[in-house]
C-alpha cells in the first residue's frame, strides 16, 4: 500500500490494536449468558426423531442446526448441522440400494452411519453459559460447524439443560453492533494475513451437484463459490442449500447440475457477499451488522475471485491476531 509516511502507518497499527483490545475486553468481561436475549426460543430434537422429519422441521423453523436430546440418558447428544445431512447424501450416493435405511433413519442412527463412511462424528463440544464470551468463542473455533451449545445443569435434578446455541455470526454481529471500537480497525484485510487464497475450490454452474457436495465434505467447507469460465464469481453453493435439495426426500436429484439446484433456492436468499483486498475490517463489520453473512468472497474490481474470508477467519483474528507481529 502507498502510505504517505511512516507515522500514518504507525497510527493505523496503533488504532487497530486499540480496537482489538477493546473488543477482547468486551468479550472477556461478558458471559454468554449476558448476551442472551431476555426471552428466546430453542428448538431441540429428540434423538429418536427421524432424519427426514428433522430436516423438514429445520426448514420450517428457518434454522440450519438444532441440539439433539437423548431422552434415555437425559443428556445433550450433539448438534445436528448441515454437515450431517451432507454425510447422509454421501452415504446414499455410495450405497444407492439402501434408500430405505436412509429414509427411515433416526437422528440417533446418524452416528453409526457417519462412522461407516469415515466422517467425523457430530460436534459434542459445549460450554457453560457463565463462562466469558471470549472462552466460548475460542472453543467455537474448534467446532466444525461454527457454533457452540451452551449447557448448564438444572439445579433441582442435576441434569443437563441446553440453554442456547451460540454461532459465529451471532458473535460477530454482537461485536459489530455493540463495540464502537470496530471502526478503529482500518488496516486493509489483505495485510492481516487472514484471507485464504491458496487452493480455493470453485465450481461452475454446470458442475454436477454431487461433485460439489463431495467437495464440501472432502475439504470441510461450508460453501463452494461458483465462477464462470473466466474465474468471475457468479454465485455460491452453500452447505445450507443441501437442505433444500433433499427436502422432498428426492435423492434422485443428485444428478442435477449446481445451476439447476439453485433454482430451488428460497427467495429469501441473502445474496453473495464480496469484499476487496483493500477493504478494512471496519467495513466488513458494518456489513456483518446489516446482513446475515456467512463468508466474504474476496474479489478484484472485475469480480474475479481471489480468495475467501470466512467468519472463523475474522473471529480468529479478532480474538488472537494483530498486536505485536502486525504484518505492516
Amino acid at each position: 500500500m502507498n502510505y504517505q509516511n511512516e507515522e500514518e502507518i504507525k497510527a493505523l497499527i496503533e488504532n487497530q490494536n486499540v480496537g482489538l483490545a477493546a473488543i477482547r475486553r468486551m468479550l472477556g468481561s461478558k458471559t454468554s449468558y449476558d448476551m442472551l436475549p431476555v426471552s428466546f426460543k430453542l428448538v431441540v430434537f429428540d434423538t429418536t426423531l427421524s432424519v427426514k422429519r428433522a430436516l423438514n422441521l429445520l426448514l420450517q423453523h428457518n434454522i440450519v442446526s438444532a441440539p439433539l436430546w437423548d431422552a434415555k440418558t437425559s443428556k445433550f447428544a450433539g448438534l445436528l448441522t448441515t454437515g450431517d445431512f451432507i454425510n447422509i447424501i454421501k452415504y446414499y450416493f455410495s450405497n444407492p440400494d439402501r434408500l430405505e435405511i436412509v429414509d427411515t433413519m433416526t437422528l440417533g442412527g446418524l452416528e453409526e452411519l457417519e462412522r461407516t463412511i469415515g466422517a467425523p462424528s457430530m460436534d459434542t463440544i459445549s460450554i457453560h453459559p457463565s463462562k466469558p464470551l471470549f472462552d466460548a468463542c475460542l472453543k467455537m473455533l474448534e467446532s466444525r460447524s461454527g457454533r457452540i451449545p451452551l449447557i448448564d445443569q438444572d439445579e433441582g435434578t442435576n441434569r443437563e439443560i441446553v440453554v442456547s446455541v451460540l454461532t459465529q455470526y451471532r458473535i460477530l454481529k454482537f461485536i459489530a453492533l455493540n463495540c464502537r471500537e470496530t471502526h478503529l480497525l482500518q488496516i486493509p484485510i489483505s495485510e492481516l494475513g487472514i484471507i485464504s487464497t491458496d487452493n480455493i475450490h470453485s465450481c461452475q454452474m454446470t458442475t454436477p451437484v454431487i461433485d460439489v457436495i463431495d467437495c464440501l465434505t472432502q475439504e470441510k467447507l461450508s460453501s463452494i463459490p461458483i465462477v464462470d469460465e473466466n474465474g468471475v464469481l457468479i454465485n455460491v453453493y452453500e452447505a445450507v442449500d443441501v437442505l433444500g435439495l433433499i427436502k422432498g426426500g428426492i435423492y434422485n436429484d443428485l444428478s442435477l447440475s449446481v445451476g439447476e439446484t439453485l433454482l430451488r433456492r428460497s427467495e429469501n436468499f441473502e445474496g453473495v457477499c464480496t469484499c476487496t483486498p483493500n477493504d478494512k475490517l471496519s467495513n466488513i463489520m458494518n456489513t456483518v451488522r446489516r446482513a446475515s453473512v456467512h463468508r466474504f468472497f474476496v474479489v478484484d474490481d472485475n469480480y474475479k475471485l481471489l480468495g475467501v474470508l470466512s467468519l472463523s477467519d475474522i473471529l480468529k483474528y479478532l480474538l488472537l491476531g494483530g498486536s505485536t507481529n502486525s504484518p505492516l
Binding site: 461478558k30 431476555v38 426471552s39
Partner: protein, 433 residues
C-alpha cells in the same frame, strides 16, 4: 387509602395480565370481548350475562378449550409477529408510534424530579398520582375484560420506585429506554457523598424494562446491571420490576396519621386487611401509633353508653365478618355424587336456561391463550432476529407444557422456564412411539 380493600389489592397480580393483553388489544377488539366472555362463561351464576356477551365466532374455536396449545408452523398460517408485547419491546429510536408510550414519557418528567426519600414514598406517590393517573387509565380502559375492577387508587400502587445508577464515569449521563419509548432522555444526578455515582429514581410499572445510558453523547450500557441482547441484536441493560407485596402497602397505610383521623374509617381499613375482624384490637395495639390515632383509639375503648340516653354510633359491619379460611376442600369438589347433585340443583334453579352447561369444561384462563410462540414468526422476513428472541412471556405461562396438534406422527411440546433472570422457551420434537 380508605378504598384500599382486598379486591383491589388483588389486582396487583392483574397487572401482568394487562401487559400481555395489550397485544390482544392491538389485534382487534373482538379479542377483548372474548376475554370478558371467557370469564363470564366460567361464572356459573351468571348465565344471562353470558348469553348477552356471546360471540359466535369465539365459540367455534375448539382448540382453546382446555389445553395449552401453540400453533405448529407446519402448513398453518402464522400470526404476524407483533412488536409491542412487553412494556415496550422496540429499541429503535425513531420507529415507535405507540400511544401509551408517549404518555409514558410525559409521566417521567414528574417522577424524576420527586424527592427520593424513603419515608416520603407514600406521600410522593400520592402527589404524583394526579399526573400519573393518565397512563394507568389508558392502559386499563382498553382491557375491559380482565381489569375493570382496577380503579385509579389501586393503579397508583402499581408504580414501583426504581433507582437507576451509573458508576462508570462521564459528566453528562442520561438514561433512555423502553419506559420512555427510547425517545426521551432522563438526566442522572450525582449522589451526594458518593463521588462518581450518579442516579435517578424512576416510577416504573411492573414488567421488564430495557434501557441504555447516554454518557457524554455516547450510547453505553452498564456493567453493573443485567444485560441482554434485544431482537435487533443490540446489547442493553434490563430490569424486571416486580409489584410490591400488598401487605407492605397496608401497614404503611395504617400508620399514616391522616388516615387515623377518621376513626371509623380507620377501623374499616384495618379490618379489611384481616381475614377475621375480631383481631382488630390486637392488631392495632401492635402497631406503633401516632398521638392522634392513640386518642382515636382511646375514644373507641370508652363505654358505648355516653350518658343522657346517647349511645355511640357504630357503623354496621359487613355481614361476612365471621368468614374463616379453611384448608378443607368442600365435598362438592371431591365427591362426584355431591358434585352432580349440586349441578343438577343449579340447572333446576336456572329454569333449564343453560341446560347441562356445567358439562362443558371451563375455558382456559385467558392469559394462557397468549402463547408467545404464536405471536412469533421465525421465518422469512425478519432476518434481524438471529438469536430466536421472543417477546417476554407472562409469568403465568411459565412451567406449563404447551403442545401443538400431532402431525406426521411427531409430538411437539414446548415449555417456558426461567433460566436465571431470563426465559428459555424450549420446543422439543419427538416421534410418537
Amino acid at each position: 387509602m380508605s378504598q384500599d380493600n382486598p379486591p383491589q389489592n388483588n389486582d396487583i397480580s392483574m397487572v401482568d395480565v394487562c401487559d400481555a393483553d395489550r397485544q390482544q388489544q392491538q389485534n382487534n377488539e373482538t379479542d377483548s370481548a372474548g376475554l370478558s366472555h371467557t370469564l363470564s362463561q366460567m361464572n356459573i351464576d351468571g348465565p344471562d350475562e353470558f348469553e348477552d356477551n356471546e360471540n359466535p365466532d369465539r365459540m367455534t374455536v375448539p382448540r382453546n378449550k382446555s389445553t395449552l396449545i401453540f400453533e405448529d408452523d407446519d402448513d398453518d398460517e402464522i400470526p404476524p409477529y407483533s412488536r409491542h408485547q412487553e412494556n415496550v419491546s422496540d429499541t429503535n429510536l425513531s420507529e415507535d408510534d405507540d400511544d401509551d408510550e408517549s404518555v409514558d414519557s410525559s409521566h417521567h418528567v414528574v417522577s424524576s424530579s420527586a424527592t427520593p426519600h424513603v419515608g416520603q414514598d407514600q406521600y410522593k406517590s400520592k402527589s404524583d398520582f394526579s399526573e400519573n393517573s393518565q397512563r394507568p387509565q389508558q392502559q386499563y380502559s382498553s382491557n375491559t375484560g380482565t381489569s375493570n375492577t382496577n380503579s385509579n387508587p389501586a393503579s397508583k400502587s402499581n408504580m414501583v420506585p426504581v433507582d437507576i445508577t451509573w458508576q462508570q464515569g462521564g459528566d453528562k449521563v442520561y438514561v433512555t429506554g423502553s419506559f420512555t419509548g427510547w425517545r426521551k432522555m432522563i438526566g442522572l444526578v450525582p449522589v451526594p457523598d458518593q463521588p462518581g455515582l450518579l442516579h435517578v429514581k424512576l416510577q416504573l410499572p411492573p414488567g421488564t424494562h430495557r434501557f441504555r445510558f447516554i454518557v457524554d453523547n455516547e450510547l453505553r450500557f452498564s456493567d453493573f446491571l443485567p444485560t441482554a441482547t434485544d431482537q435487533m441484536g443490540n446489547f442493553v441493560n434490563y430490569l424486571e420490576v416486580v409489584a410490591p407485596p400488598t401487605t407492605v402497602d397496608e401497614n404503611i397505610g395504617g400508620n399514616l396519621p391522616n388516615q387515623t383521623a377518621d376513626s371509623s374509617n380507620y377501623q374499616q381499613d384495618m379490618g379489611a386487611g384481616k381475614p377475621i375482624y375480631k383481631q382488630d384490637n390486637q392488631a392495632q395495639t401492635k402497631q406503633p401509633m401516632s398521638a392522634r390515632s392513640r386518642i382515636a383509639f382511646e375514644i373507641e375503648k370508652e363505654p358505648d353508653d355516653l350518658g343522657d340516653g346517647f349511645t355511640r354510633f357504630h357503623e354496621e359491619k359487613p355481614l361476612k365478618q365471621d368468614v374463616e379460611y379453611t384448608q378443607d376442600i368442600p365435598a362438592v369438589f371431591t365427591d362426584p355424587t355431591v358434585m352432580e347433585q349440586y349441578y343438577l340443583t343449579l340447572d333446576q334453579q336456572q329454569n333449564n336456561h343453560q341446560n347441562m352447561a356445567w358439562l362443558t369444561p371451563p375455558q382456559l384462563p385467558p392469559h394462557l391463550e397468549n402463547v408467545i410462540l404464536n405471536s412469533y414468526s421465525g421465518s422469512g422476513s425478519d432476518n434481524e432476529n438471529t438469536s430466536g428472541a421472543l417477546p417476554i412471556p407472562n409469568h403465568v405461562v411459565l412451567n406449563h407444557l404447551a403442545t401443538s396438534s400431532i402431525k406426521h406422527n411427531t409430538l411437539c411440546v414446548a415449555s417456558i422456564v426461567r433460566y436465571k433472570s431470563k426465559y428459555v422457551t424450549q420446543i422439543l420434537y419427538a416421534p410418537l412411539q
